[in-house]
């Protein structure tokens, strides 16, 4: 049992919940982050193995000052944060570049801003614990698709930031990696069901036989490996059934 304290951002989504549960089951203490869904976050923290060891942190990641304050408060309550998993990503509108408006562009940048705010706030603490940072990236950052530019560009920006963190913080024994995901076999919140542009990706996937889809539990197990793999920093690992190739 590791006893390490890991902050899981976006822990109320299906992937985030599964990651939080997997890490708690393996002995991590988990800080469950939420933005709006406080009741769900409280319920999750209470249901995790090792209940009582975990924490809840509620903050809008797009608000840098609020993130700084919330992380400082968490570190004081909890004694510190050793590792970060960022599974938070806001809904991003699809559509052609010629159709972007400022509201859409702002929405697309929220995830990137949130990742930057979070990283900035937790890295000083990660240094003292030789910590690890894992960002859940997207295959659309490198395998491009018409209509999904805002989503892909935001993920690409956050992935680049993560890689730079790996170089800047490597001498401090802090590692940073990206787990690049394509479509996941989720029970709910499947973007392909909600948005025909995302659904059109499946046609490409079928042509290239990119099966099987990873399950949230498999994503969680891979996140945990990345958190613990001392050999790996500054990398993007693709868990997308070969979509990249």
């Amino acid at each position: 049992m590791t006893g390490r304290r890991v902050l899981v951002a976006g822990a109320t989504g299906q992937l985030g919940r599964t990651i939080a549960s997997d890490l708690a089951a393996e002995g991590y203490r988990v800080a469950v982050h939420c933005h709006h869904q406080r009741a769900l976050a409280d319920q999750l923290a209470a249901s995790l193995p090792g209940a009582g060891e975990h924490a809840v942190i509620q903050v809008d990641l797009a608000d840098g000052a609020a993130v700084d304050s919330a992380i400082a408060d968490l570190e004081q309550r909890w004694g510190g944060v050793d590792d970060l998993v960022n599974a938070a990503w806001p809904a991003v509108p699809s559509g052609a570049v010629t159709g972007y408006d400022d509201a859409g562009l702002d929405a697309a940048l929220l995830g990137y801003r949130g990742h930057a705010h979070l990283s900035r706030a937790v890295i000083p603490g990660l240094r003292s614990s030789k910590g690890s940072l894992v960002f859940l990236g997207g295959a659309l950052a490198t395998r491009l698709h018409p209509g999904l530019g805002l989503f892909g560009a935001g993920k690409a920006a956050a992935a680049t930031l993560t890689h730079v963190i790996a170089l800047e913080e490597g001498p401090n024994d802090v590692r940073a990696n990206v787990l690049s995901l394509g479509r996941i076999a989720v029970d709910s919140g499947d973007l392909a069901e909600a948005d025909p542009v995302f659904a059109s990706l499946d046609e490409v996937g079928a042509l290239r036989r990119v099966l099987p889809l990873p399950t949230p539990q498999q994503v969680a197990a891979t996140v945990r490996w990345l958190l613990e793999a001392e050999a790996i920093t500054g990398q993007t690992i693709s868990l997308a059934g070969g979509e990249r190739v």
Binding site: Q218, W225, A231, T233, G234
Partner: protein, 258 residues
């Protein structure tokens, strides 16, 4: 029960050095491991002795085979299946790494490197994949080195062959999906396999060793790669989720980004 109990693994070029350590690591985790070599009977015997000392001797078996010969590779796979009933994991570790200036290269230098690093793995993958598809699953892993992201002046055949091997793994990831997962690792030099040629070149390029574990590259301190790092990642990829396929994972402390 250990992590790989019941699994059958073939590691090419594993009589000594990195391949031997990789083979012994999988055996230590419960696998039955076939240790391929060619004309290295003494080194293979020494590794088998190490396996016996570690208490895994009954699950490590040496197989001599010239993998550049497709018929011999096919026979080797047949022998494994005849003896163990299956083949779950193939690791392309065998490699040649002989520096020679481009202007002095001869055909046999090129043919030798392509033979061990690309042609051999191509047909051995085919023989292994036939078994894996028939049994309903399997994994193929290739050790590429950092040839995909760095170029070295005196290693033209090696760079070309390893790049081809990496692309072969990507191709097979799609061709053999969803039954067989194919991935590569791209560690930096971790076993001094070039007898120092790269060390000199690294210094020339301003890559200065800081300690046994770190090197400065363009002023940035990056982690060096160890055989333990390589083994950790291979063990992970050997039972990573099935949807992890077609990937190349650098083990370089982030050097690929610089």
């Amino acid at each position: 029960m250990s992590r790989f109990t019941g699994r059958v693994v073939l590691v090419t070029g594993s009589a000594e050095r990195a391949g031997a350590q990789i083979a012994l690591a999988f055996a230590a985790h419960g696998a039955t491991v076939y240790l391929n070599h060619y004309r290295q009977a003494d080194a293979a015997a020494a590794t088998l002795a190490l396996a016996a000392e570690a208490g895994v001797g009954e699950r490590v078996l040496a197989l001599e085979c010239d993998i550049t010969d497709p018929a011999a590779s096919s026979d080797m796979v047949d022998e494994i299946v005849a003896h163990s009933g299956r083949l779950d994991l193939l690791i392309h570790n065998a490699s040649t790494f002989a520096p020679r200036p481009f202007l002095e290269l001869e055909q046999h230098d090129f043919d030798s490197s392509i033979g061990v690093n690309l042609r051999g793995p191509f047909f051995l993958s085919q023989a292994a994949a036939r078994v894996m598809v028939a049994q309903g699953g399997g994994r193929i892993l290739a050790i590429l080195g950092n040839s995909l992201s760095e170029v070295w002046p005196d290693f033209a055949p090696h760079i070309v062959a390893k790049t081809g091997l990496g692309r072969l793994m990507e191709q097979l990831a799609v061709t053999l999906s969803p039954t067989v997962q194919c991935n590569s690792i791209a560690p930096t030099q971790f076993f001094r396999s070039d007898d120092g040629a790269n060390d000199a070149l690294r210094l020339l390029r301003g890559e200065t060793p800081v300690s046994a574990g770190t090197t400065q590259v363009k002023g940035i301190t990056v982690r060096e790669t160890s055989i333990d790092d390589v083994i950790d990642v291979l063990l992970f990829l050997a039972d990573a989720p099935a949807s992890m396929t077609g990937t190349t994972l650098p083990i370089d402390g982030g050097r690929v980004l610089i």
